[in-house]
Structures are given as C-alpha cells and as structure tokens.
C-alpha cells in the first residue's frame, strides 16, 4: 500500500448495545492502485479498529456477502475500486431497507425468507417422479438461455436497497424474489405457476413494481431483475386473458438431439 496517498473512510458505526442511533467514524486508509473498498475495510479492521463489523467472504463478487452503500450507491465492497470515485473521502454505510445488526452488517434473514417463500426450486405435478427420480428432465440450450441471466443472482440484497418500493413497503417481495419467481416459472422443466402466481399476483407482489429500473442498474452481476419482473407481469396478464403459448413441461426422456449432419471423418494423412 502507498502510505503517502491517504483516503478518508467515513464509516457508519452502530453498536446495538451502546448506541441509540448510528454515527460516523473517520479512518485514514492508505490507498493505492487496484485497491478495493473491501481491502480498505480489512485494513481498518487489522490496523485501526478491530471492533468494526462487516461481512465478507470470497473477495471476487461470487458470495454476495459484502454488499454495502458506498458513496450512497449500493455495491459489493470487493467489486468496487477506491480509485474509481476520484475522491479523498469515501462514505460507507450499511445497505438501506434491510435491518442493521451492527455497523455494516445487515440482517439478511427476512430477505432469504422472502426468497424461500416463492418456492425457488423445480415444482412438478408428478409427485412420484419428484420423490424417486428415474432420470433428469430434458432442457434444450434455447430454453436454458431464456433463464440463464436470472440464475446469476448471488442474493446480496443490493437490488432491495436500490428499490424505491422496498424503501416504503415492508411487505413488498422485492426485485430479487420476483425475478427468481420468473426464473422458475419460465423454466421448461417446471410446472409450479399455480403455486407461485397467488403469491406474486398481489398488491405487495409484482404489481407494486413501478419500473424505476434502479435494481437492474445496481445489480453487480447483470441479472436485470427489472426485466424479469416485467416479463412476469406479461406472463400473468397473458394467463389472465388466455393469450400466449403455454409450454408443456419437459419429460424425463431426453428429446432427440437436433444436430447438424455429421462431417465425414478426415482420412489419415500419415500411413
């Protein structure tokens, strides 16, 4: 680390046992090239104040633990370079719209419970096959492409903190759960629409999204939850007016592969 170039980290602190309201504490952190905000926080933890609480794990934007509000914009601490702000001061706060446990650590349990409530797994009518599977359900690559984008969700909670509806409606399912609902409903192996639609077809569900687009902008993995929610609305409307094709769930027997005619095997050049 370059000791000459110091950055001021203005970190929001809150200890539920001692503090009544959150307050800010400033730390001077040596900065350098390619240094992430998470590395700055680790520097504070190791050298300046070991009582600072934050959550981090993989340091490569895979685990979704280190979501924080950096200069009033939600992002992953491990995914954000200090240099990109071109500023000597960095304000670091916990993600809004999620309860604070301590300092930068937010309570993700209600968020995970909401995610679980939309049944994020393959639902089938044939209970016997689900209990004792005999083969895998077939999924052609084209069907996978319609949902692959939404499977990249790492459940970091950044879309919830960016969403203006989640800011005021505590019962709102949030962009994450709604996009995952679409991800499973559009899966050609799934037939759980009847179970999931009553949960999302409510005032606090899909219809409370007013398309501000903040979730898709802030998403660090390019999941585009706003797109998934609008496609879910489209699906709900098309089911209500009985329009649009309803795909049959795939069978366990793999469909015959549609391959190009095989090229003749080249003859041996060395005899």
């Amino acid at each position: 680390m370059d000791k000459n170039n110091l950055i001021t980290f203005k970190v929001q602190r809150y200890d539920p046992e001692h503090d009544r309201i959150p307050h800010f504490q400033e730390f001077m952190v040596p900065s350098g090239k390619c240094l992430t905000v998470l590395e700055g926080l680790l520097y504070i933890k190791e050298n300046l104040d070991s009582s600072l609480a934050f959550r981090a794990s993989c340091r490569m934007a895979i685990c979704g633990s280190c979501g924080i509000l950096i200069n009033n914009y939600p992002n992953l601490a491990c995914h954000t370079q200090i240099e990109e702000f071109h500023s000597d001061t960095l304000t670091v706060k916990p993600l809004p719209n999620l309860p604070i446990i301590k300092d930068l650590v937010v309570d993700l349990i209600p968020f995970f419970n909401t995610h679980k409530s939309i049944k994020p797994y393959i639902l089938r009518q044939d209970a016997e096959e689900m209990e004792k599977p005999t083969a895998e359900y077939a999924q052609p690559p084209r069907a996978l492409e319609t949902l692959l984008q939404f499977t990249h969700c790492i459940k970091c909670g950044i879309c919830i903190s960016a969403c203006p509806t989640s800011a005021s409606d505590r019962l709102f399912l949030g962009p994450q759960a709604l996009s995952q609902c679409y991800r499973y409903c559009t899966d050609n192996r799934d037939e759980g629409e009847k179970e999931r639609f009553p949960m999302v077809d409510t005032d606090h569900g899909v219809w409370h999204c007013h398309l501000a687009g903040a979730c898709s902008e802030a998403c660090p993995k390019g999941v585009d939850p706003a797109l998934a929610i609008q496609l879910l609305k489209r699906r709900l409307v098309s089911r209500a007016v009985a329009l649009g094709k309803k795909q049959q769930p795939s069978s366990t027997v793999p469909s015959p592969a549609e391959t190009k005619p095989k090229l003749p095997f080249p003859g041996f050049t060395v005899k």
Binding site: Y14, N71, N72, P96, Q149, H152, S168, L211, E217, L227
Partner: protein, 147 residues
C-alpha cells in the same frame, strides 16, 4: 445467547424522492409520482371551483374568476398541461415496458452489463423529446393567448 433486535433502516419516502447516481428512469419515476399528485390536486381544485363556488351565486363566481386570472394561476395551468402530457406519455412507456414490449430478450450477462432499460433508452429519450416539444408548443400557445 443474547438476542439483539436489529435496527430498522427503511428509507421511506426519502427512498422515492432521492435518486442520487441512478440513471434517467429513476428520475422519471419521481417525476411521474409528482406529476400524478399535481394533476390530482388540480382535479380537486377544479371540482371545488366548479361546484361549491358556482352554486353560491354570480358574485362569488365572478370573484373566483378574478382570482383565477392571476398570472400565478396561469403559470399553474401551464404546469398542469405539461404535467398531463408528461404523465400520459411516460405512462404509455411504462404500460408498454411493463407488458414486456420495448424490453430486450434475456441474454447471458457479459461484462460490462447493459440492462434492458439501458438498451432501450433511445425510446425513453425520444419520449422526453416529445414531451419537451409539446411543452414548447403549449408555452407558445399560452403566450399567444395573452395569458
């Protein structure tokens, strides 16, 4: 084990009104709400004027009309027209996008990520341009009408 109650941290109405570094659609969302409330306020005012004040006789009606010829009320009328044009056109954009039109197909995310609203932003900019043009036309109309 000690049980600590987590501190609530909802942004509330501030979360609607503060858009910070977010892009244009987030600001259009705020403007859509404000114009909606403005049009509703105008409607209430209009209904009160044309019902409660009207039935109280000619003197009251003429006194009300004299107040309404105040330039500030004329500016307010112009703002209601602009708010109506914006709310209608942005509402049309929202209806189309919420029904899946003017949105792209899901595609594997490749860095740098470009979400569907960003890809379809030219349409949003076109909508804003139409609102601005109509606002200028109506401004000319108000000026030509002699306020």
């Amino acid at each position: 084990m000690r049980q600590i109650q987590p501190r609530r941290n909802y942004l509330g109405a501030v979360g609607w009104l503060w858009a910070g570094n977010y892009k244009v659609e987030r600001y259009l969302y705020i403007l859509h709400r404000i114009t909606g409330l403005g049009i509703l306020f105008f409607l209430l005012l209009h209904l009160i004027m044309t019902t409660v004040f009207r039935i109280q006789g000619q003197d009251v009606w003429e006194a009300t009309m004299a107040i309404l010829h105040n330039p500030w009320f004329k500016i307010g009328e112009y703002l209601v027209v602009v708010a109506f044009v914006y709310h209608a056109l942005n509402g049309l954009r929202l209806i189309l996008q919420e029904l899946g039109f003017l949105m792209v197909r899901p595609a594997p995310p490749i860095y740098p990520y470009r979400d569907s609203l960003r890809r379809k932003r030219p349409w949003t900019i076109a909508m804003i341009a139409v609102v601005v043009i109509l606002a200028l036309v109506f401004f000319y109309d108000f000026i030509a009408g002699g306020w």
